[in-house]
């Protein structure tokens, strides 16, 4: 019918590419129809007993292991345990997404996946941004007492007095006193360890690298 008409029209007009083009288009059409068909057949829920049971089994496993890790302390280090249970949580969230929420890249023309990815980006920004900003705020806004102790310690070995508690606040000490500041951060951190906020940040997995890189204003 119309296909032949159009194809012959293409050759009659002396455009050899037209036939090829149309053949390509014809190749696309059944695909589009097929997609519509399946969409209409399963407009909503997909899933089977097997997938639900598989998801449940995996979830039980991925829940039991972190609980066991924490209550037995098998991994020894707190950082290692925290990292491990975070990984298990992420894995379990993926399991739930796939087996219970039936996430895939095709449902609703890919828009559910789009919304999910966008949300994940926002969640990551909100979480890591808050933690990063507030962590550095905590470290740089030292309490008065800790500031003074820090200043005292660092003034001693440095006769130049470069470390005098000037108006610069917590951000002041810079490279000029690099050698002398060695012991200072430990002293400062020691006096701060009573602060809940510091100990509170410790087990968050993302923080491990930050605290390892030298905490606070002394860099």
């Amino acid at each position: 019918m119309s296909e032949d008409d159009l194809a012959s029209a293409g050759t009659r007009a002396g455009v050899p590419a037209a036939q090829e083009l149309y053949a390509g288009a014809r190749g696309v059409y059944p695909d589009a129809h097929g997609r519509h068909g399946s969409h209409a057949a399963h407009p909503e829920h997909r899933g089977s007993l097997r997938s639900y049971l598989a998801g449940f089994g995996l979830s039980v496993l991925l829940t039991a292991i972190p609980f066991a890790l924490v209550s037995t302390g098998t991994l020894g280090g707190k950082q290692a345990t925290a990292l491990a249970i975070a990984v298990f949580a992420a894995a379990q969230i993926v399991v739930h997404m796939v087996y219970f929420l039936h996430m895939n890249a095709r449902s609703e023309g890919g828009w559910t996946m789009m919304a999910l990815i966008f949300t994940l980006i926002l969640v990551v920004i909100a979480l890591s941004g808050s933690m990063w900003v507030m962590y550095h705020l905590n470290v740089n806004m030292m309490p008065e007492q800790a500031m003074e102790e820090m200043a005292d310690e660092s003034v001693g070995p440095l006769p130049g007095g470069a470390m005098a508690p000037t108006s610069g606040g917590g951000a002041a000490p810079t490279s000029a006193s690099g050698a002398a500041t060695g012991p200072a951060p430990r002293g400062a951190m020691g006096s701060m360890s009573g602060m809940g906020s510091m100990s509170g940040m410790a087990p968050m997995p993302g923080m491990a690298s930050m605290s390892g890189g030298g905490v606070g204003p002394m860099r």
Binding site: M1, S2, D5, L6, A9, H36, A40, P43, E44, H45, G47, S48, L49, Y52, L53, G55, F56, S59, V60, T63, P66, F67, V70, S71, K78, T81, A82, I85, A86, F88, A89, Q92, I93, H96, M97, F100, L101, E108, W111, T112, A115, L116, F118, T119, L122, V123, A126, L127, G129, S130, M131, M134, G196, S197, M198, S199, G200, A202, P203, M204
Partner: protein, 208 residues
């Protein structure tokens, strides 16, 4: 030639109209999914708050002192089981078996009710021991985060009850099937949030 093109166009338009006619309520699930994503952002804000001030005990009890792992283990099991039974209810929806669906939904509600009950008991116990939401920043954000999740579960329970009544009255009509699909998304989503809660609040609280 012209006729053929016209026919193509006609078929195309016809298909277009039909597609729209088919989609009575077809965008509801996507809309509901976007609501869930916004809910996810709400929880992200609460999780971020907890990550920032969750260690500020203000001289009060620490997470390890007030939180009990056996309780949260039990509640995690309740919510996970309810997710499974909710899924089983949805399978019965696909088969069109109303009675079995209602039964699975009732079991789901029972698990959900147990979860909320245990959580309320846990909260009451903490408040009695002087570890209420006004004690420290940690407890404020703990009660806000866990309480918001508990509130969602409670709303889910009310929703479930109304759905059971609606299906009881009018059966598995398309509108009800759609509502049930939305509900199951909501319920499974709450379980996903709970994974974050038990991992980052309870388990990591034990490590602090």
């Amino acid at each position: 030639m012209a006729v053929a093109l016209e026919r193509i166009e006609f078929e195309h338009v016809h298909e277009h109209i039909q597609e729209h006619a088919d989609e009575e309520g077809g965008s509801t699930l996507l809309g509901f999914w976007i609501y869930l994503m916004s809910d996810c952002l709400l929880f992200a804000a609460l999780f971020a708050t907890f990550a920032v001030v969750g260690g500020n005990y203000a001289g009060g009890p620490s997470a390890r002192q007030v939180l009990e792992l056996p309780t949260v283990e039990f509640n995690t099991a309740m919510l996970l089981l309810s997710s499974l039974t909710c899924g089983l209810a949805m399978l019965e929806v696909e088969r069109g078996r109303v009675a079995a669906m209602q039964a699975w939904l009732a079991v789901t509600a029972l698990f959900g009710l147990t979860f909320v009950g245990v959580e309320i008991q846990e909260f009451a116990h903490m408040v009695r021991e002087g570890a209420g939401p006004d004690r420290s920043a940690f407890l404020s954000c703990f009660f806000t985060l866990v309480g918001t999740h508990g509130l969602h579960v409670s709303v889910g329970l009310i929703w479930m009850t109304t759905l059971m009544a609606q299906v009881g009255r009018r059966g598995l009509i398309p509108a009800n099937t759609r509502r049930l699909a939305c509900f199951s998304l909501f319920w499974h989503f709450l379980d996903v949030i709970w994974i974050g809660v038990f991992t980052f609040v309870y388990l990591m609280g034990m490590l602090r």
